[in-house]
Symmetry: C2
Subunit: 450 residues, 2 copies
């Protein structure tokens, strides 16, 4: 039942645009979902995409613009006049409208706002632009259905019908007092089943979850997920109802957060996509690689410091990548688990208990791996007892060290108020490389005595 | 406004459980949200938690059980009789009920189902148990509001009120024909604003997104996100309406997927948490470490093969961890970007174009990094032109190779129908270590001639 874009269909649309066959174009695109049209526009050239946007009605294109990826949208908007942009904005919900307006350059922004004919809509957008985009204020929409606690159920029904016209989806009806303070909520179900002569104040639910305009987005996401909410009202500093956040915006937020964390762990510092330009990709990737290179210089120095071992125990150097790889892998594993626990706020128990657990886990893993390494060293590589034992013992200590760094660096950063996701990936692997090699050669020097 | 658990509060609850002060306990817990009670139970001992569960009413504890983490829930359920579990199940929506029943051992499962008094509820649960848990059938609930296309709007309103009693949230009203085939949908808003003498067939929307019971969960998540749906109906092979999936279940699904991918990239193969047992953590982590160890053995052999270089160019060995680290980091960056593009289905263009892009990106990054490396090698480490140039050129080739492996291994796996997330993390870093070192020494041998 889902629409699937085919190359044939894209070519057909390109053909129609070239022929300026507006009638056929409208016929082909009219019944498609706006998300599908956005996918098609992503495949078209900028000029063709702009042509289609100008051709379709604004109630359709407003939704399509929202679905386009940021780069494509920026380009298309550059091809539209301030008045045309204002027409699109007019059709959008306030939260989406504010997001789009925020992306415009300052002078275009001012002109677009001036062209918006619905004054209330324009006021709402300007209000939303004031909030930080990752705060509840930046995520909320002004559209909501609210009723006064002093109304009757019957009066409420007709008022509600009117308000509902402007709201895409009615999740909850919010109840306010005469001064617009949030008092509680009412479900449509409650309203449907209430006796028609009742007062709202008799039937509404006084318990309502809400957030403040300044609540950070992650906190909103956490609350909505924890309490399984589909919408949450937003109040300002005086407790007045100013907006609501719906779960679909939060789904996008959660996905973007997860992608950002994932990229951070992989050593990519900006939100990039496979289709971004070389320059954007380089800017996101190169800084981490330079960090890794600097770490590499340090490891060169560490190895140089032990260069007398080359004459008597050259084989020690052959095991360097193995030690570094084990340190890196263990560090990334430990930090990934701690990071997720920090993100979910599920990290429990004292730091001492966590320390003991990581050490026992590393001892357990390290012991198994060291046995394999000693066995391999003796029987496969024929390296002799003393040497194999040296690398085996070093491996256990390298693993313990790596898991402690992987566990506690994120915890310490988090306590300092720094994003612990910074700590995974290149940062952990680089420092574990260096410490791993240092520990390895120190132990070897102690046992083999070179 | 949010409830914050304090240690004081936990101690107070523990105290009350010890004193068996049921009245005070109920008073303390009565008004809390079930998600908050679950958080409290997570902190209590198993016996105390069971005591609280048995004390509270089943309409509350059913929700609490759903919020507990899997391990705690399993332990608590072990302390309840089949009849007690059935009472809890009775209060749950069918999708949640089926998830809980699926976790029980076969004999307990059979007894619990027999104890469920509402026969329709039991039938529904048994039906849901048949579906794969990651398919639309496994995600859906049987609770929904549906109307027949032949009904009148007035008759529909009263019927709907009755059905709505059993459904926590009414998202959409589904329209079916006499044989229960899904025909379309109706929003509450439409129903409220329709003239009361109209037929449903006059007012319903014939376009409705739906999925099949066998549609995979990721596909459901993708469709619901793309089309911004809050609920989607599920039909069986004959097109009959059998259930619906709501966005809150999909939010959990998306989060779990993201966590799984993240852990996979970090070399953790089972879904584990920081608070899991040593044995669980070892089982998830050790296999990847053994893989890395085997890779390490290969790299020992590669280095041994070039051991004649030790006499003339020992410094080459000092740069091994640097090369390995750069190869690993570049590989993880490339694979992370490709993986996300594959997950979002946003990878566009031919493989050849992608190849050219990765090569140019690596050339750009590699050139900058090689310049830094050559500069550092000459002026900081005093290694001379020939040697510095050798490591510089090797670095560029190592980076190109690593980015190609990082890009194309996931793409190839994906085309083969294998989960490409397997390819990131330890697998990519290990193979890039080996190939990196091999390329490095081959180039060095070519240039320096040892």
């Amino acid at each position: 039942m889902q629409f699937q874009i085919s190359n044939d269909f894209i070519e057909k649309i390109e053909q129609l645009v070239e022929e300026k066959n507006n009638k056929q174009l409208l016929l082909q695109l009219e019944d498609l979902h706006h998300a599908d049209i956005a996918e098609i526009l992503d495949e078209l050239s900028l000029d063709d995409a702009t042509y289609v946007i100008k051709l379709l009605k604004t109630d359709k294109t407003a939704e399509v613009l929202l679905e386009l990826n940021d780069d494509d949208r920026e380009k298309v908007l550059n091809n539209l006049s301030a008045k045309e942009i204002a027409n699109e904005i007019e059709e959008m919900d306030t939260d989406d409208a504010a997001d789009i307006v925020a992306e415009l350059s300052p002078d275009v922004k001012a002109r677009v706002i001036k062209y918006i004919q619905d004054e209330e809509h324009a006021d709402n957008i300007v209000e939303l632009l004031r909030y930080d985009e990752d705060s509840a204020g930046g995520l909320m929409a002004k559209e909501l259905v609210k009723v006064n606690e002093n109304w009757s159920v019957t009066g409420c029904m007709s008022e509600m019908r009117e308000q509902a016209e402007n709201v895409t989806r009615v999740h909850s009806i919010y109840v306010v007092d005469n001064r617009n303070h949030l008092k509680g909520r009412l479900s449509l179900k409650d309203l449907l089943t209430a006796p028609s002569n009742a007062q709202i104040s008799d039937v509404y639910i006084k318990k309502v979850d809400y957030v403040n305009v300044n609540t950070p987005g992650e906190e909103v996401a956490r609350i909505m997920q924890k309490y399984d909410l589909e919408a949450i009202p937003v109040v300002n500093e005086m407790g007045k109802l100013v907006g609501r956040i719906t779960i679909d915006d939060i789904v996008d937020f959660i996905r973007e957060e997860a992608e950002r964390d994932y990229q951070m762990a992989a050593g990519i510092s900006e939100d990039v996509e496979a289709n971004d330009s070389l320059w954007q990709l380089t800017r996101a990737r190169l800084p981490w690689l330079i960090l890794a290179l600097l770490g590499g210089f340090v490891s060169v120095n560490v190895l140089e410091a032990f260069d007398e071992a080359i004459k008597t125990h050259a084989a020690l150097f052959f095991f360097v990548p193995l030690m570094a790889a084990m340190a890196g892998n263990v560090g990334v594993q430990s930090s990934a688990i701690v990071l997720q626990a920090l993100a979910n706020r599920s990290l429990r128990g004292s730091l001492l208990k966590r320390l003991l657990k990581e050490v026992s886990l590393s001892l357990l893993n390290g012991f198994v791996l060291a046995c394999l390494l000693i066995g391999g060293g003796m029987f496969l590589l024929d390296l002799g007892w003393g040497f194999s034992l040296t690398v085996g013992i070093s491996l256990i200590l390298v693993i313990i060290n790596a898991s402690l760094i992987g566990t506690f660096v994120p915890i310490i950063l988090d306590k300092q108020g720094i994003d612990p996701a910074m700590a995974t990936g290149p940062f952990i692997t680089t420092s574990n490389d260096i410490f791993g090699i240092l520990i390895y050669f120190s132990i070897a020097k102690l046992i083999l005595g070179f």
